[in-house]
Every structure is written in C-alpha cells, then in structure tokens.
Amino acid sequence: MKTFKIGGVHPAENKLSAASPIREAALPKQAVFSMFQHIGAPAKPVVKKGDEVKVGTLLAEAGGFVSAPIHSSVSGKVSKVDVALDASGTRRMAVYVDVEGDEWEESIDRSPALVKLSNRPELDSKAIVEKIKNAGIVGMGGATFPCHVKLSPPPGCKAECVIINAVECEPYLTADHRLMLEHPEEILVGLQLIMKAVGVNKGYIGIENNKPDAIALMTEKAKGYQGIEVVPLKVKYPQGGEKQLIDAVISRQVPAPPAIPINVGAVVQNVGTAFAIYQAVMKNKPLIDRIITVTGKSVKQPSNLLARLGTPFQQLIDECGGLPEDSGKIIGGGPMMGKALLSLDIPMTKGSSGLLIMNDKEARRAQPSPCIRCAKCVSACPMGLEPYLLSKQSKLEDWEGAEKNDITSCIECGSCQFTCPSHRPLLDMIRVGKSTVMGIIRSRAAK
C-alpha cells in the first residue's frame, strides 16, 4: 500500500465520532466573522453597523489577490464592526451580526439535487475559478490558503493532475470521513470542476486505510467519472501534509521552498474544499458553513456538526452534551497541529475542522529531560531534517547554522516532539528558529 517515503509516526487514532452522522447545528444568536479567516491579506468589510444582511450577503471583499471575500452565514442586522478574539489568540477586526430568522439570498440554490458537470457545459476554466474566488473558498483542511490562487498556476507551470486530500491523518477528526460517506457524488463533481479549472484529465483521491467504508464507497461512485482514481494509503501521520500526500500518491517529491506543488505538476485540494467548490459553482452558494468534528474522550456525544461560520465554539460544545467537568484544554483542529484556544467565545472560521476537548491530565506536558541523542526525531521527521539539531541551534540563536540545516523546510507537523522520549519541546524551539530565519531571508531578499 502506498505511503510517503521518509519518516512519519502513528499516533493513536481515537476517531470517536466516526459513526456519528453529520447533523445541522442550531443557529447562533450572534455570529462573528473574523476578517482573518485565510492566509494572506485580511478581508475588507463592506458593511456597516445597522445594515440588514441575508445568508450569503457579502460582508467583506478580498483584500488582495492572496485573500478571500467573506459572506454572512446568517440573516439579521450588523451590530458592530469591531475587534474579536480569534483562534490564533489575538484580537482582530471582525463583523458582528445579530441573528434574526434565516433568510437566504435568492441566488443560492438550496435544493439537494445533484448537478453534474454535463448539466453545465457552458462552464469553462475561467468561469469556474471566478466563481470559486467570489465564493470566498479557502483550503478547508486547516491551512486556509485561498483556493483560487492554487487554481491559477504561475506562468511556466503546468498542472498534470489534481489530488484530493481525504487523508484526515489528524487523530480524532472525522469531518472529512463523514463528508465522503454522505456526499460522495458532490465531492466527485467538485473534483471534476477543479480538474477542468486547471485543465487536466487526471484526478486522484487519497484516503487512508483506516476508512475502508469511505474507500469502498468513493471507488464505487468514481466508476461513473472519467479519469478519477481513488488511492488507498497506509495509515501514517503526516500523510495529509501536502508534500507527503503528493509523494504518497504520485511518488514525486516537491523540492525545498520556494518550490511549490505545481512545480511537480500537482494541485492538491482538501476533500472539504472540493465539496465547497461544488456548492459554489453548481449551487451558487458561497462558503458560509462547514463540517466540524466536536470530540474528546470526556465529551458526551462526539459529533460531526454542519455549522454556520461565526458560531461561537461554546454553542457547538453545548450541542454535544456540554463542556465536561475535567476539561483542561480546548483545541481548534486536531491534536497534532491544532491550536489551543484561549476562550470558548471564539467563533468558528473557514478553517475550523475540529474542536477537541482534552481533560486536564491529557492536556499537560511531561517534564522534559536531557536529550539522549537517540535519533528517534531524525527518523520520525517526514522532511528528512534533524530536529534535535535545529532545536538546539534555535536555542543557541545560531540562525546561520539553522538555515544551513534547512530549518525553513520544517512543516511543523510535530512528529519529532511526539516521538521524543525525553519529552523535549523540539517543535516549540524550531518554530522560533524557523520564523526568525524566514525573517532574515526576507530582509536579505529585500536588500
């Protein structure tokens, strides 16, 4: 069975909510839309206090090419445009909407009927990318990179295939798994749209082998779509990393930065993104909701919720049986790469793939002890780096040495720290080094 070549670890899967069908979360009383829901320039608000909005009304336009517009996910009145705490722990500009009723923009097709690509022959590459751009779609796996940018290859680069990331290698998360089981055809049409947008006729869907039901269903449904192949993958973290997935599926390795996947002919999109693209292009529905896994060992009802963007996390937890007594840490995303949240009032955004509640005991790190140079971090690193060395160089502020040892190639997957028998905070140190070295490289380029 295929997988990536270098390193990797196998954390306990804990897919507690895998059997729980997607259910719709209730509307919030107030929805808060951060202007920073994507990588790149923040969105610019186009509404002001007192404006009436419907579901799908544009709240903010893209702040540049690498940016995305933001639409209201609720109907009601804009109560203020002000700062709000977001998942990164900072206060940033946001639009607050007080919810009244649930009125949708008329242009949105809310019927469940499947629209196939053959029903819409007039759609060409440019039209598809334009629709995706206007719908505010970003990478839904958590990276939140604006989708239309990836679908507009830089001059000189030619895409050869599209790979759908349905790996979901983060422990606990099951949103993508459920999406495949409940909306397989929509995903396949979404993939067709991406293929058409970048002008290729080969599409892959990479699924880890711990989801045999999804592999079987997608393989069955894919028979009706030309050029689409489902690729079962061996379970190994971080297979959902873009570079690891390309290596696993088509055996090509993206070189070190500044190279990007398109340099080896691959365009990778998350399975949730493919679904959102289907809805945007075929149903005229901007990105206003997503599936989020609310889970944790003490959570009463681990669930997969279809929730509107801007819903506060507190409400999502309440829908799953409330916050357990022994909660110690709330993580936005999965346990390997997610962010610990400062507060439950933080609203969900386009990149919220999961909400993981850890009990107090799980949440605490063990005391680190000296490095015993066991080299387990070196064999775990999926990028072939030397985490023990990079973390030491970062600590000693040897930026030159860290750059020479390719610290900027680190994808921050956390495999090194996960595997370290001395419980050393390897990735904490490497992050400091990586951002410093990247700053140095940028300032050098600016000169």
């Binding site: 840490k329 993580i331 780096l385």
Partner: protein, 333 residues
C-alpha cells in the same frame, strides 16, 4: 473552569516513549546474558555485578547532589543502572570489590558527570571505566576465571581465553595453536572464559533481537560491525590460516556485547543511518586490526572509544536525506 484553560503549542499529544522505557528496555535485553553469567560464574558474577550497579547508581546520586548541587533525581532514569550493568559485564568475575568501585567512579564520575550528565558525554561511560581499569591494572583485568566455579570469587582458577589463544597463534605463526580453541557450540552457549557478560553469544543475540523488536535500536550498528568483522577476518583467514576462522572471531571476546550493547549507546553513536554504518564499519575494522596486530588481545573497547570521538564529525557530514533532495540533485546536474 473556562478562564483556566491550558494553552500550549502543538503537538498536544505524545507517543508515550520515555528515557526510562529505553534504558530499562536495554537492561531487560541484558537479562538473558546476566542469568547466563550467574550460571557460569556463580558467586563471583553476583558480587561483581551487584557492586558495579550499586556503586554506579551511588556515584551518580552523590555527584548530582553534592558536587553539581542539582535539584531532582537522575538515578531513576535508568542510565546509571545500565552503565553499571555494562561495566560489570566487561569485567572478569574474580575482580576485587575495591577495583570495581574505582571503575564505577571513573565511569560515572569522569566518563559521564564531568561532561554534565546524561546525554552530554562524548565517550561511552562503561567503556571509559573498563579501559581505565585495563590500563591501570592489567594483571587483574586480564586473568579470566574458568567457567563453572560457582562458589569461587577472587580465588577462582583462571585460564587462557579464546582471544589469548588466537593472539598466541598469530605471535607464534603456527595455525596448530588454534586447535586449542573451544568448539563453536561451546562458544555460542558460553562455556568459555572471558568477561562476565561476553561469554554467551547466543543470549546476547537474543537480547539484541529484543531491542530491535522494541525499536530501541536500529539494525545499522550491530549489522555493520559484525558484518565488517566477519568479512575482514574471513579474508585474513583465507590469506593466512594463523588468523582464526571468522565465526570464531565473531563469538569471541566482547565483540557481540560491544556491537549490540556498547556501540549502540544513543549518546555516543551517530544520528543517521548512513553515519551509523560508517561508524560500525570503522569499529569492525579497528577491532580486527587491534586484535591481530595490537598489544592487547581485545580491541573492541578501544575501537568503540576511538569511533565515539569521531561521532560529532560523522554527524556533521552525514545528513539524513532531505525531502525532495533527489530532485535538487538532478537540478544541479
């Protein structure tokens, strides 16, 4: 509760591996050989091993507390116990207690704590202790009791070990000397003279297999050392029969103990597979060279210590294969 959330960076989960698991894992892997040493050397083995382990643990504790004045306790991590066990395994079973204590002091005091404790030492502490004793007290350190004297300690009857026989054969240039070697099965099981822990090749290999299974070590170092010794001594044997057969060389002295348990020490061996292979091959070559042409019959300890010194250099030049490197190389062409 909500205002008391724990905030930390990812990853938020850990694999559950620990220093203790690895150190005690190696200790468990040494148990079969330990039982064999008690079976063959009885009382002497028990005294030597107990003294060695206890004094290593004591010195680690005392130095941490009174000299370094560090808070906390490092003896629980298992590394001092392991050093003590390995040091004991490298000594003859008739060594007086005071010598063992000196060896432990040098191993822990000079070999390890001088550099800052666990993880900082450039040389394998147990081997530092052993080589110190070997050079300072060559007579006591090279008289090897005959196996099977269960109640004897310092009064045990001694005899030549296979290594001495081999060296004699080379010195005299007469291959007939090699006839005095015990047969291969005896050496495999361990009914020969030698250091405590190096007598039973079979049980040491079982311990090594356990460590490979538990992923405490990788195959690179043991295989490269044993392979190099087998090939090199095989060539020597074909060229001139005064050099012993390769399988006898492999099972004699501390070769297997060294290859599986001493050279694989995390702290003092290289970090990448490629580096470990270079390290292992060099240890193998050095061991055969010292055994055949050096002043000492046993070369394993010296070979490992010499290569320990090269480990930082190997780490500097042997980098793991970076992701995407293949393409980068192609681009350069």
């Amino acid at each position: 509760m909500a205002n008391r959330l724990i905030i930390s960076l990812s990853p938020h989960v850990h694999g559950g591996d620990s220093v203790q698991k690895n150190m005690y894992g190696v200790c468990i892997a040494l148990v079969p050989a330990l039982l064999a040493s008690l079976w063959f050397f009885g009382l002497g083995a028990a005294i030597v091993l107990a003294t060695s382990v206890l004094s290593c643990v004591f010195f680690e504790w005392a130095i941490t507390k009174f000299l370094l004045k560090r808070p906390g306790c490092t003896i629980c991590d298992g590394s001092a116990v392991l050093t003590g066990l390995l040091l004991g395994f490298n000594l003859p079973s008739n060594l007086p207690i005071w010598l063992i204590i000196i060896g432990a002091l040098v191993a822990i005091g000079i070999g390890k704590m001088t550099f800052g404790g666990l993880g900082q030492n450039p040389f394998n502490p147990a081997l530092v202790g052993r080589v110190f004793l070997l050079i300072s007290f060559p007579v006591q350190m090279t008289s090897w009791p005959v196996a099977g004297q269960l109640t004897a300690y310092t009064d045990a009857e001694t005899a030549a070990t296979p290594l001495f026989i081999m060296q004699n054969a080379i010195a005299s240039g007469d291959p007939a000397e090699l006839q005095k070697l015990p047969d291969a099965t005896q050496m495999l099981i361990g009914q020969t003279g030698g250091s405590l822990g190096e007598v039973s090749a079979l049980l040491l290999l079982i311990g090594c297999a356990f460590m490979l299974w538990k992923k405490i070590i990788t195959w690179h170092i043991p295989v490269s050392i044993l392979g190099t010794v087998a090939v090199f001594s095989g060539i020597m044997h074909i060229v001139n029969p005064i050099y012993a057969m390769p399988h006898v060389v492999l099972m004699s002295g501390g070769l297997i103990l060294g290859a599986c348990f001493m050279a694989t020490d995390y702290v003092t061996s290289p970090m990448t597979g490629k580096g470990q292979l270079i390290y292992g091959i060099c240890i193998g070559l050095l061991t055969v060279i010292i055994r055949n042409w050096g002043a000492y019959p046993e070369g394993m300890s010296f070979a490992i210590l010499i290569m320990n010194a090269f480990t930082p250099l190997i780490n500097t030049y042997c980098k793991p294969e970076r992701f995407g490197e293949v393409i980068r190389k192609e681009e350069k062409k």
